[in-house]
Symmetry: C2
Subunit: 236 residues, 2 copies
DNA sequence: CGACTTCTTGAGGAACGTCAACCGCAGTGG
DNA sequence: CCACTGCGGTTGACGTTCCTCAAGAAGTCG
């Protein structure tokens, strides 16, 4: 824990091939990577840096509550910009890798230079992040476990590399394990399991194996994710 | 609904006197306000603009779920920068005033100019916002209603103008009504009421009237807010 | 093969939502 | 002035739901 598996230096080290990095001119990419200190992390490794870019894998902000409950506030995937600094208040939570991941840590100065050089890309990343966090807050506030799960499955479809096969665009890979999903949507792993089975029973998804599922009935799932499956008598 | 009470043009219109706006040089403030179209809103008024700055009052992103449940994803107070744009996906939720508020709407072009001129202030605002949203997500994920309420009370203490009286620094004003608190922390108004009474019974807060409370035992409240009051047997 | 982790399934209970009723207050109109 | 209405807030009784606990299944690694 807390250790870095190794450094990932490569001549053809590249930024993730997704928005907004793939819109940067080549020279800018090079200047960004010059300042990089990439590291390879395994599941459970903590990242001391508050600043950086996720190159691959899955990383989260993990908080531990007073009594030991574990919470994942935010998920980061390939291409996400991470900035946990805050002016007032002390830092809450820390970065943790949820699976084998590559992360470019940046120090304050490097970050400032990059943010100036690539202000637009950085702004776009921050705006996307806040939009994702708003959606996640809406998920957490009052949805039932089934609704939360459907919503998070849609979130996963938007992860780069989620679609495994162009012939089967609705087959996706689950990027993180069940207990991490549980800590992210605020239910217990047992409840995640039951919710997945429920969707399967209703033929809305098909479970190929633990890591791969097919979305069979996207309209129904969208309706559930938007709040179509309230508690029995929540209709006041 | 959806109407604007009036425009708020004033020679001495000023940006909120809090971070980061109060650190801007006078000339920058003037240039920001030149581009402004301030509006006065009453409770329930919707704001069509996706971009702007909250001058006073309380504004939120409101989402309505499929079955009518109402959710407040994010709260904005005096001085907060609002940017709801998103590249992919359609817009979720809309801005709504929770009480009498003043809001400066900015259009895309105005916003771009401001963001360039005041990049640092804008970055600071965005970073503060993401930090607040992370904390809120941590609150929503797995805390009990009592813990959520304690946490949101601390959030309120950080609102500009929350402290009513320098002699009594622990007396704060509740900036939004009970049912909005409920929609923000994902419980029912009845539960908010019960949680407040609970804190009062334990002499952790004192209720002066509906809008004013005193935090009597901050350490206990902090412990509760950090997860010190789990469900009876959540300790596995 | 055994030790371990992750996931799954089932049974039972605490907790929060639901429903209903009530209070206090502000606004409104006669 | 009072009656009426509506809204926000509060309290109590009851029931669904999701968490807890336990045990087993399936996969992984030594």
């Amino acid at each position: 824990m807390g250790e870095v598996l190794g450094r990932y230096y490569s001549r053809d080290m590249a930024l993730p091939d997704n928005h907004p990095w793939n819109t940067l001119p080549v020279s800018d990419v090079a200047s960004l990577l010059e300042r990089a200190t990439p590291m390879v992390l395994a599941r459970g490794h903590r990242i001391k840096s508050e600043l950086g870019i996720v190159i691959s894998g899955a990383v989260a902000v993990e908080c531990e509550l007073f009594d030991g409950r574990r919470v994942l506030c935010t998920l980061f995937h390939q291409g996400n910009l991470v900035d946990l600094r805050r002016t007032k208040r002390n830092r809450q939570g820390q970065l943790i890798a949820l699976k084998r991941s590559i992360f470019i840590a940046l120090d304050e100065r490097q970050f400032a230079v990059c943010a100036t050089d690539h202000a637009t890309a950085f702004f776009v990343q921050l705006r996307e992040l806040t939009a994702r966090m708003r959606d996640h807050a809406a998920d957490l506030v009052s949805k039932t476990p089934l609704e939360k799960l459907a919503s998070v499955l849609f979130e996963f479809t938007r992860w780069p590399g989620a679609v495994l096969n162009d012939n089967e665009p609705n087959m996706i890979r689950m990027p993180i394990c069940r207990s991490d999903i549980a800590d992210y949507i605020g239910v217990k792993p047992e409840t995640v399991s039951r919710a997945i089975r429920q969707l399967e029973r209703e033929c809305i998804i098909e479970i190929l194996d633990k890591n791969r599922i097919v979305l069979c009935d996207i309209p129904s799932m969208r309706r559930i994710a938007n709040g179509g499956r309230p508690r029995r008598s929540t209709r006041r």
